[in-house]
């Protein structure tokens, strides 16, 4: 199964080159508009991870790992978790855990709803990077098949 160029055929590569940016943009849209329209941090994070997985399936693991390495994925995952916890702890400014301490803004605006967009971004970083790391770990795993 070793070919000269890693990844799939030319057709798949061309289509991937066209679509992968759109998938990434759609994920970012879902995350940032999570408080206005359906969606949110979890779904958007998974879509962003899927765009990188798409890249990895089409072009092989080297190119995808160049865009987002395993160490970077681990870093973003931990960063997202700590960011979410920090937002919760900052609520003690106003009085209690996860207090909505920002200004609410006008409804239906992009910058509204206080801490909710920030929480969405934190969860997106955590979920996307975590699922990508799991996928990379599963791809790089090569179980030696035991002969019987």
């Amino acid at each position: 199964m070793k070919t000269k160029e890693p990844g799939m055929t030319l057709i798949v590569k061309t289509i991937t080159r066209l679509t992968v940016g759109l998938i990434l943009l759609y994920g970012i849209y879902i995350v940032t508009h999570g408080h206005v329209s359906p969606g949110g941090g979890f779904a958007g994070g998974v879509i962003i991870a899927l765009s990188f997985i798409h890249l990895m399936l089409a072009f092989g693991k080297d190119l995808a790992l160049k865009k987002l390495s395993r160490g970077a994925a681990s870093f973003f995952e931990s960063f997202g978790a700590i960011m979410f916890l920090t937002i919760g702890l900052l609520g003690f400014i106003g009085g209690y855990f996860f207090f909505n301490f920002f200004s609410k803004g006008k409804p239906f605006n992009l910058f509204s709803a206080g801490i909710i967009p920030l929480c969405n971004i934190a969860i997106c970083l955590k979920v996307g990077a975590g699922l990508f790391a799991v996928f990379v770990a599963l791809i790089l795993l090569e179980i030696p098949i035991r002969k019987e």
């Binding site: 408080h35 949110g40 681990s74 006008k106 409804p107 801490i115 955590k126 599963l138």
Partner: protein
């Protein structure tokens, strides 16, 4: 509600196919069909947030499963006819359905009346949080503590997977396998 029952029937058939079919790849595809049906069912029940999440997670799981199973040769399980097991399973399912019927009969019907807690959220969600998506306002403001727990669970799961599959633990297995090969040769 008619299309919902059609979808449920489709999902049940898909699940039975996924369990019963011999080919591993076809089984994975049948699981994917069930997940797609569930996503459409969420859309019919007017839960677009859940539909998006279900669809996306289903695709991710499907890719991982196909990637994991497509080149593996997993021997099929030899099934013997075990009459007692089947009879016991049927008995338990029958008993479960009977008591579930007794218990679920007294529940209020689907969606009516709205529960007290959610009435409060629906009335004051927009005013208190400023978020027009009420699901987001519940999971990230009113119930953010639950979301923190869920995030912690996912974090722990990812750390666990990365720990189990890390390279240091694998090398030893490779070396052992190689040594066995050398002995055989």
């Amino acid at each position: 509600m008619f299309e919902l029952y059609v979808l449920l029937l489709f999902m049940i058939i898909g699940a039975i196919i996924a369990v019963e079919i011999k080919d591993l790849l076809s089984s994975v595809v049948a699981v994917g069909a069930v997940g797609l049906g569930l996503s459409v069912a969420f859309l019919i029940l007017k839960a677009p947030d859940l539909a998006i999440t279900q669809l996306v997670v289903e695709i991710l799981c499907l890719i991982i499963l196909i990637r994991a199973t497509i080149k593996r040769d997993i021997p099929s399980v030899n099934r013997r006819k075990e009459v007692i097991n089947s009879v016991m399973a049927l008995l338990f399912i029958g008993g479960f359905l009977f008591f579930a019927y007794l218990a679920l009969k007294d529940l209020p019907s689907f969606g009516h009346p709205i529960m007290r807690v959610s009435q409060n959220y629906l009335a004051e969600g927009l005013k208190k949080t400023g978020a027009t998506n009420l699901v987001a306002s519940v999971i990230l403001d009113f119930r953010a503590y639950d979301t923190l727990g869920e995030a912690t669970i996912l974090f722990t799961a990812v750390i666990g997977v990365l720990t189990v599959l890390r390279r240091i633990g694998r090398k030893r297995v490779d070396e052992v396998a190689k040594e066995e090969d050398e002995y055989e040769n």
